[in-house]
């Protein structure tokens, strides 16, 4: 419960903590909204037969105006929001984020050549950009969750 009842007396520290929690909820809400709009738009208005997951880029097609709108949302979701969030968090949570980013980065550094070698050996389809993005994103989240669990 974040909001206090009317007769509850809060110290100055409690008040600031609750403000911080409200900002976090707002941040998560905006991020979820951006993600939802991006996911829904790309799924619902997709005019092509391609798939990001299979690396079939030539057959991916979106209305140009929607594509530009999604660029704005993606810049907001992957650049502005994280940078704003980074300013809000303290040292402790920043450490979690650093571990998360490190996990994402080293996974790409290791994952791309491993994928390429597996492709060369006939074990996997050729590496593609969205797959690399997926490796970075998923491993970043896993590393972040590990840091939250352990630290």
């Amino acid at each position: 419960m974040i909001w206090n009842s009317k007769d509850e007396v809060l110290g100055p520290g409690e008040t600031r903590t609750r403000q911080r929690q409200r900002r976090q909820i707002f941040y998560i809400g905006v991020a979820a909204l951006f993600g939802g709009v991006i996911g829904f738009s790309t799924g619902f208005f997709d005019e092509g037969t391609g798939s990001l997951f299979s690396g079939d880029w030539e057959n991916i097609k979106l209305p140009p105006a929607l594509a530009l709108g999604l660029v704005v949302l993606l810049l907001g979701g992957f650049l502005v929001l994280p940078l704003w969030g980074f300013r809000m968090i303290d040292d402790y949570k920043r450490e979690h984020n650093f571990i998360g980013f490190t996990g994402g980065c080293v996974s790409v550094l290791a994952g791309y050549p491993i994928w390429a070698v597996l492709y060369a050996g006939g074990f996997a389809p050729p590496p593609h950009a969205f797959g690399i993005f997926g490796i970075a994103y998923v491993s970043m989240i896993l590393a972040f969750l590990y840091a939250r669990w352990r630290l």
């Binding site: 100055p12 520290g13 303290d90 402790y92 949570k93 450490e95 630290l151």
Partner: protein, 66 residues
């Protein structure tokens, strides 16, 4: 690193959220420092010391002999 944060907080009858707000950090950070899972940065250690009107080494002990 050992510290007396929990004791000092209890002496003032502050919750973790109250202390966190006064230090401008998250409640989770206070909990992590109290349980020894996280060592605060130097600026935060100074803020903690100022808040309790003590020296840093009176609050934190890294185990080294004086």
């Amino acid at each position: 690193m050992k510290n007396r944060l929990k004791v000092l907080r209890a002496e003032r009858d502050w919750s973790q959220a109250e202390l966190a707000g006064r230090l401008d950090v998250s409640r989770q950070a206070v909990n992590a420092i109290e349980t020894g899972k996280h060592d605060p940065s130097l600026p935060l250690a100074f803020r903690i010391a100022r808040l309790f009107d003590m020296r840093i080494e009176e609050i934190f002990d890294n185990g080294d002999p004086a």
